[in-house]
Symmetry: C2
Subunit: 274 residues, 2 copies
C-alpha cells in the first residue's frame, strides 16, 4: 500500500476531479489517496495564500504517514513558496516520492537541487479530466508505487530532467535551480506563440551550457499569430542548440496531454521505491 | 545637422509610418533621416532574415556618414543578431547614439555591455502611429540631437537603464547582459497577464541582486484573466523587491505609449552629444 498525499502548490483542483480520481482507486489495496483540503481553496489566482499553500505542502511532505506527495494542479504559484518549503522539509520529506509537472516544476527543481526525495516530472492528479485520463492517472500511480512502465522511452544512461519550457526559463539562475551539468534536459510547452518559444530557447540555451543534450517534448495549442513565424518548434530548438553547442537529441514523449510520460530526475529515482 | 540612420532589427515598419516621420522633418536643417530599405522587408516574423537584418544594422552603425542609429520597430528578433552585431561594430559605430525600446532592448543591452556608443531607452520611429505621436517623435529627435528635455524625470545620480520586463528577463545571465550593479533599473510591460508579470519579477529579482533599486513603468493592456490575480502590478513589484532585498523606488515615466520618456544608459549618455 502506497500512501499518497495530494496538495495544490499553484491553482486549485475542481472537486469533481478529486472525486473521479478517488472513484478510480476506491476499494484498492495498492494505493491510498488523501486530498488535502487546501486543494479546493480559492484565493485570487491561487489555491490559498502563499502561507496556506506552503503549510499544506509541508503537512503532506513532513507527515511520516505518507509515502508520496502528488501535486493536484499546475497553474502558477509554486515558485512563490518553493524556497521556504525545501528549507522546512524534514527527514520524513526526504524519504518520499514527488510527482507533477507544469508550474510545479519549480518545486521539482528545488527538491532535486536539495536532494530531497525521489522526484519526477509526470501527470498531475487533475489530469483525470483529459480524454484518456484514467490511463494517465494509472501511469502516475504506477510510478508512485515503484513501477517503470510509464517512463519516458528515450531515457538513457545520462541523468535526466524534464520541465515546462517557460518554467525552466524562469528557473535558470535562481535559488531554485539544480545543477544540470551532464543531464539530458527535456522541455515541453503549451499555448505559447512560436516567437515566444524562440525567445525562451535563446534564454535557456544561454543558461544550459554543459548539459548532455536537449530533447523536445510536445509544443501544443500554439496560438495563431498575425503572420507565420517562418520555422516550426523543432527547427527552433535545433537552431538554438546549434548556436549554443548543445546536442539536440530529438523528441521526448512529454507534453500537456494525457500521453505525458514520466521523467524521473537523475538516475536514482528511476528504480523501485526504497 | 544630426544625421540619423533607421533600421529594423525585429519586425518591419509600415511604409506610411516612415512617410509620416519623413514629412515631420522635411525641410528642416536640424536633422536628416535615412530609412534603410531593410525596414520594409518581410520574411516570416521578421523584417528580413537574420543575415539581412544584421547587415542593415551594421551598415547603419559602421557608416561614418551617420551620427545616430534609431530603431524603427520592436516586435521580436534583435536577440538573434545582437551578439554578431556588436562583434562587428567598428570605430564609427562607437561614436554614435542608439535609441529604441521593447524588443530592441536586447541590442541596447549588448551595446551598453560593450561600451559602444551613447545608448538610450526611448521612442521608436514607428511610434509616430500613436495618438500624440508627433510629440513622441520630437522627444526622440531632441535626445538624438543632444537635448535633455525628454529625459525620464526620476533620473538621479545613479546610473540607470530601462527595459521591457520580458526583454530584461530573457536577457539576464546571457552573453548580451551588461553588469547592472549599482544601477537604477526601470521596467515596463504591455499585454501580459499579472500572473506572468509576477513570474517575470521572480526571475528578474533573483538575477538583479546588487542593483541600486527598481522603478516600475507602466504595465498596460493587461489581458483579463478567468479570475482576478489578487494584487496589482505595483504590489507585485514591491513584493518581489522586498523578498529579494532590492529597494523599490516607485514609478517610472516609461511604457508602451506616446508618453514614454527617455532613459539614457549610464551617466555619460545623459549630456549633449560629444
Amino acid at each position: 500500500m502506497v500512501r499518497i498525499a495530494i496538495c495544490a502548490p499553484g491553482k486549485p483542483l475542481k472537486r469533481e476531479r478529486a472525486d473521479a480520481v478517488e472513484a478510480l482507486v476506491a476499494g484498492r489495496d495498492d494505493v491510498s489517496l488523501q486530498f488535502h483540503d487546501q486543494c479546493f481553496v480559492h484565493a485570487g489566482h491561487f489555491a490559498g495564500s502563499d502561507d496556506v499553500r506552503l503549510a499544506a505542502l509541508l503537512e503532506c511532505a513532513n507527515d511520516p504517514g505518507f509515502d508520496a506527495v502528488w501535486f493536484a494542479m499546475g497553474g502558477y504559484g509554486s515558485n512563490r513558496i518553493a524556497a521556504r518549503a525545501v528549507a522546512r522539509m524534514d527527514a520524513a520529506a526526504r524519504g518520499k516520492s514527488y510527482l507533477g509537472y507544469s508550474d510545479t516544476g519549480f518545486l521539482l527543481a528545488a527538491l532535486y537541487r536539495h536532494g530531497i526525495g525521489r522526484v519526477a516530472h509526470g501527470p498531475l492528479a487533475g489530469d483525470i479530466r483529459r480524454e484518456g485520463g484514467t490511463e494517465t492517472i494509472e501511469r502516475a500511480l504506477d510510478w508512485l508505487k515503484g513501477g517503470e512502465a510509464g517512463l519516458e522511452p528515450h531515457l538513457d544512461n545520462h541523468p535526466a530532467v524534464a520541465f515546462n519550457l517557460t518554467t525552466l526559463a524562469m528557473l535558470v539562475g535562481t535559488e531554485l535551480a539544480p545543477d544540470l551539468t551532464g543531464h539530458v534536459v527535456m522541455v515541453e510547452e503549451v499555448a505559447e506563440h512560436l516567437y515566444a518559444i524562440d525567445r525562451l530557447f535563446f534564454h535557456l540555451t544561454q543558461h544550459l551550457k554543459g548539459i548532455a543534450g536537449l530533447r523536445l517534448g510536445r509544443i501544443s495549442d500554439v496560438p495563431e499569430n498575425d503572420r507565420p513565424f517562418g520555422s516550426d518548434a523543432e527547427e527552433i530548438a535545433e537552431d538554438w542548440c546549434a548556436r549554443s553547442g548543445i546536442p539536440y537529441l530529438g523528441r521526448a514523449d512529454i507534453g500537456h496531454d494525457a500521453a505525458n510520460k514520466i521523467v524521473p530526475f537523475g538516475l536514482e529515482a528511476r528504480g523501485a521505491r526504497a
